[in-house]
């Protein structure tokens, strides 16, 4: 079906991004509710499998080893931002250090009450990090600082801002947007935007 009169931009971006996405150099903010203002010294991450629980603060998280990550990010609202750089601790290193049981599902929780479910496989077999830096500086509060999850191969709503907890578990438990009609996994290259895609 052709839309009469629509030509698109001269500079087209197809091929560079997942289907249905366009490239922006801006970094739009999408949050359910307001921005959390959280001082670094008050931030804590609780990692649990229901039996064992481990709490990390800014310093003890850094002790696990910070890596640099350059990656594209994709929001379900159709924008993609290419070549962003982040600093953080691989989620795999956190789960291993915390001695988590080998479970298939995880639920990430945020200060402010946001939740999102992620397969443990998507956290440990890909470039997922507990991010502590963006473009060489701190992560701005509106983008989830001081610490957010970053799961760059999935739509960005999986990358919980103001990360407060990671719970691994034997059964899947849907998070905030997943309960509001969005896809349970959210792979942008498979265009898994909405429930049923």
């Amino acid at each position: 079906m052709v839309t009469r009169g629509f030509t698109g931009r001269p500079q087209r971006t197809e091929g560079a991004v997942p289907p249905g996405q366009y490239v922006t150099s801006d970094f739009p903010v999408l949050t359910a509710g307001g921005t959390q203002q959280l001082p670094t010294r008050a931030w804590e991450l609780v990692v649990t499998d229901g039996t064992t629980e481990r709490t990390y603060a800014w310093a003890s998280l850094h002790d696990l080893g910070v890596v640099d990550l350059t990656t594209d990010i994709h929001c379900v609202t159709h924008w993609s931002k290419l070549g962003t750089t982040w600093q953080g601790v691989p989620v795999a290193a956190v789960l291993e250090d915390a001695g988590m049981a080998d479970e298939p599902y995880a639920l990430a929780t945020s200060y402010g009450g946001y939740t999102t479910n992620v397969l443990v496989e998507d956290l440990v077999d890909h470039d997922a990090i507990v991010a502590v830096g963006y473009e060489g500086g701190p992560i701005p509060a509106e983008h989830g600082g001081p610490v957010r999850l970053l799961v760059p191969h999935l739509y960005l709503w999986k990358s919980a801002k103001w990360l407060r907890g990671i719970r691994v578990m034997p059964e899947d438990e849907l998070g905030f947007w997943e309960n509001a009609g969005y896809h349970h996994r959210g792979d942008p290259f498979l265009e898994q935007r909405y429930y049923g895609d």
Binding site: P28, V29, G33, G34, T77, Y195, D197
Partner: protein, 240 residues
């Protein structure tokens, strides 16, 4: 939960010029089963050579009315210039949706509503006030626009059928309008009615990122329970 319908053909069946830079587009969508106030649709346009572009737009019509979107032109945009300046009756495009279960209003909750809109963030608010009116739900709207000629749905807002409305203009002074950006004390005052704090007030905020960030922070600073606040941000042009 119901799976979101796949891409469906749609035809433009009406356009209405809202302002010099905003247009409402009414659509006929095959097998449209209705929507909930506040939901959005994805719109896909296809050029002659097969190139496609997709964007999300809030529905500005109430449930039970034909699906309609209201779009403001972004000068460097790819999709909005077509929808605002070129789209006309009979044009074909595709839509997915309706989508969304968070920034929505459904009958059943009779809590009064406060709608806080910036720019074309007024679009989903129109769906909400039109949906709420038959149920007798009190609705107040505070709307920030740059200039008087950028006020979308101006006639409806002036009519007795519109919500109780205050419009703030940020770039010009004009009779009948407040001047300047919405201040924290003004937002705080809207949480009360007749000097009494309304404990169940449900607040919806939609607009450009910076507008929503400021309003949401000022409302929660004024004591609004975060569970009673729903926000929707749009537009590129947020912090880089």
């Amino acid at each position: 939960m119901r799976p979101v319908h796949g891409w469906r053909p749609a035809t433009i069946v009406g356009t209405a010029r809202e302002t010099a830079s905003a247009n409402s587009i009414r659509l006929a969508v095959a097998d449209w089963a209705g929507h909930v106030a506040g939901q959005h649709i994805d719109v896909r346009l296809t050029a002659d050579d097969g190139y496609q572009a997709t964007r999300s737009f809030s529905l500005s019509s109430a449930p039970g009315e034909a699906p309609q979107i209201t779009v403001e032109r972004l000068d460097d945009g790819e999709v909005s210039p077509y929808l605002v300046d070129i789209a006309t009756d009979g044009d074909a495009l595709e839509v997915r949706g309706p989508v969304g279960g968070y920034f929505v209003w459904q009958p059943g909750d009779d809590a009064p509503l406060l709608l806080v809109a910036g720019g074309s963030g007024i679009a989903p608010m129109r769906a909400i006030w039109r949906a709420a009116r038959p149920h007798g739900t009190p609705v107040r709207l505070v709307y920030s626009a740059r200039t008087a000629d950028r006020v979308i749905f101006a006639d409806e807002l002036r009519s007795p059928d519109g919500p109780e409305t205050t419009v703030h203009l940020t770039r010009e002074r004009a009779a009948g309008f407040e001047y300047g950006r919405l201040r924290a004390d003004q937002l705080s005052a809207l949480l009360s009615s007749g000097g009494v704090r309304e404990p169940r007030l449900l607040v919806y905020v939609c607009g450009p990122t910076a507008f929503v960030e400021d309003a949401a922070r000022e409302l929660t600073d004024a004591g609004l329970d975060a569970d009673l606040l729903r926000t929707e941000r749009f537009g590129v042009g947020g912090p880089k």
